[in-house]
Symmetry: C2
Subunit: 141 residues, 2 copies
Amino acid sequence: MKVEEALSVLKKEGYKYTDKREVMLTFFSHENRYRTAKDLLKHMEPNFEGISFDTIYRNLHLFDQLEILESTELNGEKHFRMRCDHHHHHHFICKNCGITKEIHQCPMDDIQDELKGFMIDDHKFEIYGMCPSCQVEAPMY
Amino acid sequence: MKVEEALSVLKKEGYKYTDKREVMLTFFSHENRYRTAKDLLKHMEPNFEGISFDTIYRNLHLFDQLEILESTELNGEKHFRMRCDHHHHHHFICKNCGITKEIHQCPMDDIQDELKGFMIDDHKFEIYGMCPSCQVEAPMY
DNA sequence: TTGTAAATAAGAACAATTCCGTTTTAATTG
DNA sequence: CAATTAAAACGGAATTGTTCTTATTTACAA
């Protein structure tokens, strides 16, 4: 998803434009990987001295809820990335840098009768490891 | 995994037998679902007044590391359950009570070429929702 | 231009988890 | 059986990630 598109989602839903929001969205749009609230804070601080945790978290959750970002939990810390807007898929995630690679295959396709009577409202399929370039830079972690 | 089996793993690995450890393991062996550190603490307190967080967490991690328990992260809180010792599988997890149902199908089986060059060391496939009995007791959550 | 709902700051509060110095205890050894 | 010792547990403080609260500021519609 592009920044302009995200901004128009905000506008359409009645949320206000702020320069902080634009910078946040730009940050994510430039990265093809999962980043934490702390990463975002570090990126914001030079430009917005004294920006509060609250602003960071409130907006991350807003973006997540508006499906501008997608999120996952890794080592007890929430990670966010710009939502991929093409069809449903999953991710390989590099434990080192957070970069992702799409997996165009969903295990739910093959699950029908196994869960009769169970109400399904979500699922998670993620593969963890190290991407090629991190294997070079940091052979062990 | 049974309690006796878990205790023998401990012994084999050179860890000591303590009554607290036995009670912890018995707790998990009686439950077919994911429980939190807090759940375990609540269960321990009546019998072991003043038991410390440290004891709970240290042992949970020890058991996890010895593959006596398996763990997953749900809403920012680690959850543990006795490890299923038959062949590799995944779980449906009830968001309400933590009960699990095995899914005997692993999406990794169909992934070969997609991740050439990526080092894979883990994966997670979980389905979330509500089990039949929770649907009756608590139609909405 | 002004009113108001939304956004933010600043820091307190919170919840889950880990750390640390000390004491106790299970299992080993003399 | 006593002495030893390494592991385990205690008790509470510290840390980390996140949320809440109150007051203040700001975007933007009327």
